[in-house]
Amino acid sequence: MSTAEQLDPTPLSEEQPRAAAVRDIEVDHAALDASIADFAGPNAGYYARAFQSIHDTTGSIPRVFNLAAALFGPFWAAARGIWGMFWGFLILEIIAYVQIGRGAWGDLGADALAQAERQAARAQDFLDRAAAAAAAGEDGSRFETLGNNLMRAAERSRETAEAAAADANMILLTGLALLIFLRVVQGLWGNVVYEKQYTRWRVAPDEVASGRTTRNLLMGLGLGLVIVPLTVYRFTIEGVPDWMTAFPANPDTYSDTARWLEGVIDDAARGGAGAFDGIVLGVRQVLDGISLALIGTPWPVVMAVIFVVAWRSAGPRVAIFTAAALAYIAFLGYWEIAMETVALVGAAVVLCVVIGIPLGIWFGKSQRAYKFAEPVLDLMQTLPAFVYLIPIIAFFGTGNPPGILATIIFGMPPVIRLTALGMRGVPANIKEAATAFGATRWQLLKDVELPLALPSIMTGVNQTILMCLSMVVIISLIGGGGLGQVILEALQFAAKGPGLLGGLAILFVAMVIDRIVQGAFRRADQR
């Protein structure tokens, strides 16, 4: 470094922007116009001017009319790739077209006219009979009165028909007015929407459509040509062909597929009978254990335990509520059957947790496994319970254990998901620290991952309990016992009293379990 260089004060560089007052800043129209031209393609000059006036406006609605948008309507929007506008105005314009069609060629009085014709024919019939009766020397006045009445009715119908036909012109005009209004709106609004698209295009030029492409225009025209004539035809012409309103499906396709599927399920059920029976046996063991504890133990003991648990976990208010609920259940004679419901929920929850948490740990650690499991979990939660009750009957039969399996399908996803979520949420640096101090994989899981994922896992267990509770009533449909059965019987005989009493019992069971669990988890969270 030379001394001279060091002594030199740092010169102001030429590139440094000169300080300018805000009012001196000028709009760089050339650059903007070039960018707009890049975006708009054809008619770049027009759009540059239009956007400029939109950019310059201070009011809310800029006054720029797009003639092309007004003339071609949705097809202008399609050609320019503004699909939202295309669909919105296509649907609105179809309403206008249908009105125009009804007014122009829809036979509006046709119904009333046909009725008038029928009434006139019957009147003539009665009048003929009256004449015949008179000719035979009998009293035909009854027929004559009827005939005259009908004649008058026919006259009224004819008047209605004429009035409707007269309305046709009005409807035609309304349709035309609507169409013109829509086109004016598109003319006024087109540039505003297009300018918004331009703003988005500047951010993501690859994703937002730009220019005017033949492909887009053809797509818009194709969609319009399919949708508009068919819809207008359907709504303006009487007696459209059947294929237009109902899909021409072949009934054999359905019955053949159903029969084939039934065969497949039967074969599978027969083939895997051993495995399915084993699963049912296992579930029954769990259920029997819990049932024995709840029903086999003398009721004062069970009630006292529930009361104390409620007090310890959720405080005195929940304990009092629990006591009241237990009294209701006991005095109405629901004790045993309510305990069966609790046993069903308990067995389902135990199995959900025992299976779900290890699965959740696995999915939390392996991104690939989770990717495969996620659609299955979605399916388990979105499939309505009624749908999978049938295959469950086919594979596992009826009764409580299959009911528990159905409950597990519905209740397990939350605990899996939230365990996986909790595992993924464990900070990487804490895991790294444990590894750096020589922890094994098991120590890492036991000392770091599970404790840190615990709040999330607890939330999952809580949700699983609530979902199992809601499902345990539905399983009475496949022979599940408990309070659900009471409701189902009441439903079958439309028995209002028993139904309401049983319903309240279920409500109390659910609320007691929910309050106790929530209270316990809240205390765990606070710690």
């Binding site: 900070p427 590894t435 101090f437 020589g438 094994t440 000392d447």
Partner: protein, 345 residues
Amino acid sequence: MVEHVVELSGVWKVFGDRAQETIVAAKERGLTKAEALAEFKTVIGVRDASFSVARGEIFCIMGLSGSGKSTLVRHVNRLIEPTAGTIRVLGEDVSAMGPKDLREMRARHIGMVFQHMALMPHRSVRENVAYPLEIRKVPKSRRWAISDHTLGLVDLTGYEDRLPRELSGGMQQRVGIARALASDPEILLMDEPFSALDPLIRLQLQDQFKVLVRDLNKSTLFITHDLDEAIRIGHRIAIMKDGVIVQIGTPEEIVTQPADDYVREFVQGISRLKLVRAHTIMEPLTNGHAHPSADAVRVSGESDLDSLIDVSVNSEHPLVVQEGGQDVGVITKTRLLRGIQGGAS
């Protein structure tokens, strides 16, 4: 003979499927980081790094974020596997270790401190510090005793039963240091331990740490992005840029002889007063020189600029530098001023 506790030679870390090809290409035609990304879709994290840390030394690795310093230090305890090169810790080849030996080495010989503390939020301070011992299945009574003792070393006695979140950032990082010291390792890996703390606390902890490491005779690999910090606590400094170690040297060497423009830019703002010593800026006495006057003040070659200024303001003559009782050079006032400025050489 200095004993080296950590030795890295020719260590490469390349992320991506075609790592080996990238290394070959980089060696043969000097492929840059950007070219590697374009050509092989690989990211060069560490590029041919070699250094060694002597026992008792604090070795700083300084670089900006993304320079590969954190990646490099994680090779020492094999949190990251090297793509090429050898790493020896206490004379043993780390890459050749089986999982059990590796865990043993991590648990006994290497303590690590992290930028964001990485304490376990559900365990008390004591149990956090005791965790490395718990991993080694040390009985609880010993664990607690050792952990209480170590917390005493970092002045945290009385906080043993608190949870980490009840402590301030500086205290949490002291817990982190105590945890790293708990298993009495020979080597400490410090990954930007003080970066997240405010400046005053950082200065305190730096001083405390320096004393602690000297007293306990630990060897330290200290990562930082702050050159001031590196100079303050490091015996030697390695400067990294884009995965390459640009220069290794003592703080004075780095400041007075920067290897390239990159390092020069860094050291520009560094105060040289406590770093640069008399023998660096003096004009050596050759035979051509007149013998310095006997009145002139004699100073030691090891005196830093700060003390030279103190002497110089009270003396009219140029200062005379003595080494081993011999006059070896002179420092005029001009030279001293230029030395402070950094243009002496």
